[in-house]
């Protein structure tokens, strides 16, 4: 199992920490690698992700059972598509409570799918508690902490009790010149001309490609970590 046959949930109990940007990046990374991908926007009906990626993303809701079935049955479907969930802060606890109740992680593993949570680190108590709870409730799920550089250089590793060898994915700051393009929907990091009418100015394109390479390198390293964890788990079970 690896990032390739994966479900990636971008999560934080706090709003406006960069979840949707990261969800867009992960979705476009899969497309860049030539994989089918389906993204689910659980941001309370705002539809932001779907605005940027109308062909890949759909709005989802889990407040009633049909929405729960539409989302979770799709997440575990054996359709060779990577799945990405942009989990809005209001849906954070309902999503994980439901996932725990219905045995989501176990079902995913039984189907050869690797669930991973990319958790946006922020120094508040709510987020720290939420991270600890996820670690306790979902030991089979890869929990990858993410630091958004827009919150400064400090990653708060001690607050989150992250081990020395534990990798924190970095989301670098987007320069203002890049942001005005990237934050205007629709925008894809993968489409020719980056999905903008007339394409990006060359200097902007070059800077954005450099920024993207850093992010894609982070995702490839995450992929390797998931593969390694899976291999170690297989060896332990076999011994």
């Amino acid at each position: 199992m690896s990032f390739r046959t994966s479900i990636t949930i971008i999560a934080s109990p706090r709003p406006r920490v960069g979840k949707t940007l990261l969800a867009r990046l992960v979705t476009d990374f899969h497309r860049h690698e030539g994989r089918a991908v389906a993204a689910f926007d659980l941001n309370g009906g705002e539809g932001t992700l779907a605005q940027f990626l109308p062909m890949q993303a759909s709005v989802a809701a889990i407040d009633e059972i049909r929405g729960q079935m539409a989302l979770f049955d799709s997440l575990v479907a054996n359709d060779d598509a990577a799945k990405v969930v942009d989990l809005g802060h209001q849906a954070f606890e309902p999503f994980f409570a439901l996932a725990e109740q219905i045995g989501f992680a176990e079902e995913a593993h039984a189907r050869g799918i690797a669930p991973a949570v990319l958790f946006m680190l922020t120094p508040d108590r709510t987020s720290i508690e939420a991270y600890r709870n996820l670690r306790r409730r979902f030991p089979q799920v890869t929990l990858a902490p993410v630091h958004n550089d827009m919150f400064g250089p400090t990653q708060h590793r001690d607050k989150y009790a992250l081990g020395k060898g534990e990798t924190v994915i970095r989301l670098p700051i987007l320069a203002p010149a890049l942001r005005k393009f990237v934050e205007t929907p629709p925008f894809s990091f993968t489409d020719d001309g980056m999905g903008t009418a007339g394409g990006l100015p060359p200097e902007v394109q070059s800077e954005l490609e450099h920024w993207l390479r850093r992010m894609y390198l982070e995702f490839r390293e995450l992929d390797l970590r998931i593969l390694l964890a899976d291999l170690q788990s297989s060896i332990r079970l076999g011994s």
Binding site: M69, V76, Q101
Partner: protein, 252 residues
Amino acid sequence: MARPAVILVGADKGGVGKTTVARTLLDYFGAHQTPTRAFDTEAPRGTLKRFHPEITEVVDVTAVPDQMKIFDTLGSAAARVTVIDVRAGLLSPTLQALADIGFLESAKKGQITFAVFHILGPSIASLDEIKEAARFVGDASYFLVKNFINNTSFFDWDPATYNSYFKQIKNAEEIVIPKLNEMACEQVEVASVPYVSFVANKNGKGDAANYSFVLRGYVRHWLGQVWGEYDRVKLIDLVSPSLENNVRQVAG
């Protein structure tokens, strides 16, 4: 020789979840590898048989030939446990019939383990049924089941009144069946398979099915809560007493 166990599942009115409880019991004993058979008294077609066709027979428990089929074979049947899903409104008449044939006397003498699962209705009239049953139950295990699967509210009941009925039966214990999402409930009904098969995503033939993962998850969680209640009242110990386990160990 192992003592056979008989479990009556009954209610004073229909629609309170008798067959649902009987189904969870059959799954529970199956999961504990306790050989079980069932008799479905909703003749002619039955309601329990649809879900557990291999181990269920439709009978008329008030008819002598069917009484013989059930009770004359208790000692010889491969099944350790016999579950009888009693037609709605017939719990007391069935208990009377069992008294008439000497079954209750055999239970009192310890020759048979006997338990009653009385599924309560939401209205206060259900409590009168407890008084009726109390005449027959004696030392048998008696479980008062509040079935919230369909979000029933037992709001008519003043706790003091309820307790006064509850205390009329010596070995009475309360069991709570929690709510199950309506769509999950409905899909299991449509699938016509045991709860454990639905959870395992298997159809009636044991082949892979395509039930919703979410609904299977809800059912698994709910069934776990129900079985937790059965564990709490030590149901397996009741039908397979540890003394017999020790005897088997010594004999082995």
